[in-house]
Symmetry: C2
Subunit: 624 residues, 2 copies
Amino acid sequence: MLKIALAQIKVIPGRPDLNAQKMLQFIERAKAEQADLILFPEMSIPGYLLGDTWEQPAFLRDCEAWGETIAQAADTICILFGNVAIDWQKNADDGRVRKYNAFFAAQNGKFVADGSFPYPFRIKTLQPNYREFDDDRHFYSLRKLAQELSTPVDELLQPICVNIGGRTLKIGALLCEDGWSDDYSVKPAATLSRRTPLDLLVNLSSSPFTLGKNDKRHRVFSRQARDAGVPLIYVNNVGIQNNGKTVYTFDGCSTVYGRNGDTLLHCPPFEEQLAYLFFEELQLAQATSAVRVPDDRGIDSIYSCLRYGIESFLEQTGLAKMVIGVSGGIDSAVAAALYAHILKPANVLLVNMPSQYNSPTTINLAHQLAENLGCRYVEIPIGESVDLTVRQIAAAGLSLTAFMRENVQARDRSSRILAAAAAAFGGAFTCNANKSEMTVGYCTLYGDESGCLAALADLWKHQVYALGRWLNEQVYARPVIPAEVFSIVPSAELSPEQDVDAGKGDPLVYPYHDYLFRSFVERWQRATPEDLLSWYREGTVEKNLGCEPGLVARVFPTAADFIADLERWWRLYTGMGVAKRIQAPPVLAVSRRAFGFDHREAQNPVHFTQRYLQLKQQLLSPEK
Amino acid sequence: MLKIALAQIKVIPGRPDLNAQKMLQFIERAKAEQADLILFPEMSIPGYLLGDTWEQPAFLRDCEAWGETIAQAADTICILFGNVAIDWQKNADDGRVRKYNAFFAAQNGKFVADGSFPYPFRIKTLQPNYREFDDDRHFYSLRKLAQELSTPVDELLQPICVNIGGRTLKIGALLCEDGWSDDYSVKPAATLSRRTPLDLLVNLSSSPFTLGKNDKRHRVFSRQARDAGVPLIYVNNVGIQNNGKTVYTFDGCSTVYGRNGDTLLHCPPFEEQLAYLFFEELQLAQATSAVRVPDDRGIDSIYSCLRYGIESFLEQTGLAKMVIGVSGGIDSAVAAALYAHILKPANVLLVNMPSQYNSPTTINLAHQLAENLGCRYVEIPIGESVDLTVRQIAAAGLSLTAFMRENVQARDRSSRILAAAAAAFGGAFTCNANKSEMTVGYCTLYGDESGCLAALADLWKHQVYALGRWLNEQVYARPVIPAEVFSIVPSAELSPEQDVDAGKGDPLVYPYHDYLFRSFVERWQRATPEDLLSWYREGTVEKNLGCEPGLVARVFPTAADFIADLERWWRLYTGMGVAKRIQAPPVLAVSRRAFGFDHREAQNPVHFTQRYLQLKQQLLSPEK
């Protein structure tokens, strides 16, 4: 029997030394279990999201050296792993040394090289350049190599052959995106299996978590195994990686698909695992009973991602204590409940910072929340400092309007109090902004849009509420977030116009605007005011946005109201919202489009298309 | 005679309506001058740096419609211009509709289509994916199309043929990077001119300013024209474009190269221009006398770029007034002199915000600067607020160390005073950070690392001094920045350890650290501690860094000192420096590598390579 080990390791980006040592440990464990073959994820030595660290030749040499060390460990075991491969003799398009995102196989202490392939490794064929991915910036793809060699790509899609116990195993080597070929003109898995009878398809991945992505992967990869008639093993890493503005969790969820497409093995999300299986079992026409894979589209998955992401971020940045400004509203309450669970209540300091506009209702809710969680709680009022600022600005011959004083309050809370309290407490402070606010910049720079991590900023307001309920019901199994936090009107409480006790709050109608903003940000084909007006004219706004039927007519009595609202928020989304996001904290990604590096944007003037202006004119002058 | 018009227009990113209207005006002017042919830059309709606006189908339709409008204006004139071209029937690799970065020729009211090329336009072949460029994210290159069609790229490199006055003009159509083919396996200009006898090479560009880039372009493009024996016209836009974190100026500098490589025409930097030339003159073997092109590597170019960049940024964001915190140091003095010149002194408010640590020396210098510039000046002390913060944090049972109080001061200045003063004054406030500080995060988040634009953050400290001297000598022709500002020690004045009157200041030895940091950031092959230690051992540090000979021995008595300093700043550059830059303001780019989107980075753990650790051990234990 041929025993295969799947090493779902935690990869630490930019630390080849630690990753290689982790790999050596897993190799030792697998050897002790008499495994014949061990599989590690894509880029398991360097990590994947490293920014321009790829431009440091010394770093590349280091990764190469650690790769050699791994190869030397391949004595009684064969090792497949991902690493950067460097051709020091050739240039990439940017004039730097050429780097490949590569798939290595090592056996008998050295890398497996075959006859006709130009290197002792295989090369990623399909390189993603959407969302958070920048593969073409750093790596030379097999497609480019084929063009340079004046060879069809298909010719270069050759299996890796390893010899185990006297038999030759032909492995179709895929790296991550190679398995997602639907939109590409090249189809690596299909081509590999068409050209040679394969024994196994292996997809080494470094694939960030996105809500619902595993669900899709099971469909795509299962079909791929079935179409090829070859078992497929998918190995993904865990850990977190980031590109500065956006932090990604990697969920692992390594999976084995049988030749008929059944799921035969499934590693748990967000934890390291060394799983074993026998090659012979995979070969059976009707493989052993299929396993069920968890659904990854619900609030439980969001919670797992956030919990793991926050925990890992704190660990990686060395933060063990956190200060959270708690207003009595839902966002800060959810943040407090999350961090208190992750760090233990004693390491979380909750700070309420009332001004004259904060109602006793919300102050009491904040206090009650702290008691429920068992966190240290302090009240630090901002009135004296805000008054001082107003006086000092007046003394300089200038004056602050009521609106400007709202921002003064917000900045006083975060930049003056929370930042100082965090330093004194020995940690950092959180940004509690949600995605709805962040989309349109309904928040203050250096105020509530500051902090070390915006852990909730990829959740729409309704998802924050759902997460709050989940925390109460499933995580704490008691209402740590008081019921009234869910029922009061969401409000910034920065002026008499935002009096929660009078039911006055945010200008956002979340059941509508959450979905409108989502269409701007998350739709693969981004919606714009032109699309919205087309849908409005057709009466299909709710259907296209996925919000409650009848909502549009209820919220907007006339077309003019609908249009005024649309333009107001579009202007903010593409205007001040961008300016504020440029200086916003890192966002923890959950959705298919998180702010930051996943959603690239420029601080450009607002634009309405010609077609939009025509539709608007038609709607506002219906007689025409 | 065949008259050609070069339209060096200002392109407004994301505003196809305004750009198309500008193009129509230039077309009318050229027609009035009996021009036969007019050339516009790459992506002259949509703009180039738009982030993911490219993912909005409505925006693409709008650009397409404006392109049609331009084509219809091609009656008595032939028009060459850049625009996005969309193949609505085909997918790109990301599953979205396929977009090309395209070169259009329009004549007789429609686009010129030739026999065998699959589209009525030409497609960019070489797409840059380094520095600020993301072409592969958005556009399908000619290389990919060739691969999809199983055709050699060379076959698709076909000239555009237009008919003017009965004669056919064969034009080699290049888009920006196509002219910078040295590091690519495909060479568009050489291939085009080898395959067909051409009359003209035209390179439509949207090429951001980088210090010294024009100097290189003249060498590369002049050689290209000479090698092909064909005149080459380079048309570039002016204006500014950005990708959020980094703002780029576009300098125009459109140039005509004769068939022998001489420069025959050169448009001025940073202004719109409609220049004319006659095709017949270009054809002469010895063309009319060559023009001299300005050197673009000096402080005068830096000044032009900053002046134009700031002016354009303020115009585009609608800012007419600016508040600047002035400490009496060089950075804020240079910022004040720049903004006062651009906005007029009455629109600039200078604010000095002393604490107990600010010397009368620097306060007086700030005051004198304001008087010299004629700007409004106020002094707003921060002592009272800082004391209040310290008291409030103590009342919460926490305490602030001396170091924490330094940051409290910095945040109080920017987030409390400058932000409020800016709102009341009717504008924004500047970030005066320089590149040396920003590299290692020697600045405070929500403090001096905040503001609407970091205009000096791509200048090393020595460049800030040079710019200050340039402003005094060339721009103002009088010492608006007082002489003592140049001579006092650079200091943050946040503690008794930073007493300028005692000659105590920053921990940075700028004549060395400016150059060390530049090697981390700007070298094409990035330097790391491993490289530095190798050079140290060889005695070639100064030579490799480009700093003053003998400096290393003077600053660092022992290898241990050199290493401790190196590790200290490397840790900060790859650690807290990254965390702070994530939330830093947009940086105005000058160098070949500005912070922000040009220098992509992740908040990852610090790393030292194996080779570094070996070298360190050898240097610290020389007996071995």
